[in-house]
Symmetry: C2
Subunit: 331 residues, 2 copies
């Protein structure tokens, strides 16, 4: 069995910086036509200079491939003039609640229309998408659920602003998606495969530790339902987040799953298993093109149902499902 | 401020074997008058020979202290004659569902009265306590809750059998305790201090990874309510479960928290903080003496409110709250 995917897009990708960028960017650039690049670098991407410099570094690291980095700014209050000026260089702005994940110390400490409404209004008028890491500071299994009222306030107050609930992990988020026309979502690879049981139900598996943490079986089912049916408001976004092996395997393991090298074969396996292979093209590219109004460079990736063993490490980084034999591979 | 505890008992303790036994047993023997020793050794304690050999090894390892190891057999079907013969050497039999935790491969695969009723009936007649690791094979956060109907069946069918729900972690278990006269429970140190948030809410902390996994804030509150009020059906049982540092800090980290060296000061701190210091004696000794009908050797441990820093390691094993400064210490 075979399937061809045209211009795959990864609408939530961490490429990091410097050496790590050079190591990991090719894995995405080889298989994807473009990706939305997360701006939680050190320092975060908050100026045109930093943005252009980062984009150049990404283009350098991916120069052997046809690959478009879609850039995102790190959310803070920006004036409309600045946004107008930078609009053609970005597709979105990513909002992090302060301290919620890797390099988010400079995030927003109070998500409140009085505080950030002007920036959101300007984004709405300029048609800049808002990405949000939607978690509260509460109990780890409740954080996403507790954040939903904030999505509601934003969706109601800025009805023309496209808001993407990033890497959703709960059935409650799947339900909220239907309530507001301007809410969208990305779903990762790993949240379609694992629950908290895989992370901490047997032995503890640090390579599956991520934020938001994998949730309950019924949550995974809700995400699968959206993805497998290529719900038009849902896009693939890997949240592939590399950390060196030494940092993942020490106590105080950093959050993040590195999936970039193995995404397409695993998605093909998953969609085929559920007899939904015909929906993968929409989930992996078409939906994102419509939502972001982008036209990525044409790139065709052919996959076939042929067993492949995932490597134990790629450039010193342990990938999702390291060492496992999977059913599909890139042709 | 000071408090004296008379004959502290740890009614759920893993002492392991060989070198590990020699390393860890003194930490319990120094501060406790006795402990119920878990039988999930390799091989499990299922014969009189193994039991006596293990007891001797424990007495050798604790010979510098006044300390009584209360012995437990590993549950399997035993005939009444054997139980009669071994009765004076044990206080209880510990039942593990197969594969549920460290060295439980030989546990019971089907907890069913048709399968194990004769043994339970004999135990009931001989007044041998039944300890149970009560978890299903389900989703990690639901395992204890899913096991509760089995406790109910056993409690109803063997009303004279004393059944101890070991290391309870949920509010549902706290509620069930009230429903049957013959149900009792142990609570660990760590489940009075942590929730899943501490294990996986920030960075991943393998030294807090244990089975049953720490649950939700409202569950911890229910356990605190039982312990701080020294509920007469509830005893302290540390479930102190040492693994070498190298095994805890590698991917595939084994489950278990090593608390033996730090139990009494941390309990004193906790009970004092809640103005319940007067209940600690019942929780740490008196309740267990009544439930098990045992009289441990007299041993008085004096604690004072004086800051102490917990070591980073004891004999190559990382303890609960390693490196932290706590408010109480043994005098």
């Amino acid at each position: 069995m075979k399937v061809q995917l045209t211009s795959p897009l990864d609408m939530h990708l961490h490429l990091r910086q410097d050496d790590m960028l050079k190591k990991v960017a090719p894995f995405s650039a080889k298989y994807f036509s473009g990706a939305l690049i997360m701006p939680n670098t050190i320092p975060p991407i908050t100026t045109k200079e930093l943005l252009l410099e980062y984009k150049k570094a990404i283009l350098d690291a991916t120069k052997d491939f046809t690959f478009t980095p879609y850039m995102s700014l790190f959310f803070q209050n920006y004036d409309k003039k600045f946004l107008q000026e930078i609009k053609n260089e970005i597709v979105s702005i990513k909002l992090y609640p302060a301290g919620i994940t890797t390099n988010s110390q400079n995030g927003v400490s109070k998500i409140d229309i009085d505080e950030i409404g002007d920036t959101l209004q300007a984004m709405s008028e300029l048609e800049i998408v808002l990405n949000i890491h939607g978690e509260s500071n509460g109990f780890v299994m409740d954080r996403e659920k507790e954040f939903l009222p904030i999505y509601e306030v934003l969706a109601q107050n800025f009805p023309k602003l496209k808001i993407v609930m990033e890497h959703i992990t709960t059935k409650e988020s799947a339900t909220l998606l239907e309530k507001y026309d301007n809410l969208y979502a990305t779903i990762t690879l790993h949240h379609l495969f694992i629950t908290l049981d895989d992370v901490a139900g047997g032995l503890l598996r640090p390579h599956l530790f991520c934020k938001p943490i994998a949730k309950r079986p019924e949550d995974k089912e809700a995400l699968l339902h959206l993805a497998l049916n290529a719900h038009p408001k849902v896009m693939f976004g890997s949240d592939s987040a590399p950390h060196p092996k030494s940092k993942k395997e020490a106590p105080g393991c950093a959050a993040g799953v590195f999936s970039a090298p193995v995404i397409l074969p695993l998605l093909a396996q998953l969609f085929e298993k559920h007899n939904k292979l015909e929906n993968l093209q929409a989930f992996i590219s078409d939906n994102a093109q419509k939502i972001y109004n982008i036209t990525p460079p044409k790139k065709v990736i052919a996959l076939e149902k042929k067993a492949m063993q995932i490597k134990n490490e790629y450039e010193g980084i342990v990938p999702f499902m390291a060492g496992e034999t999977i059913e599909w591979s890139v042709q």
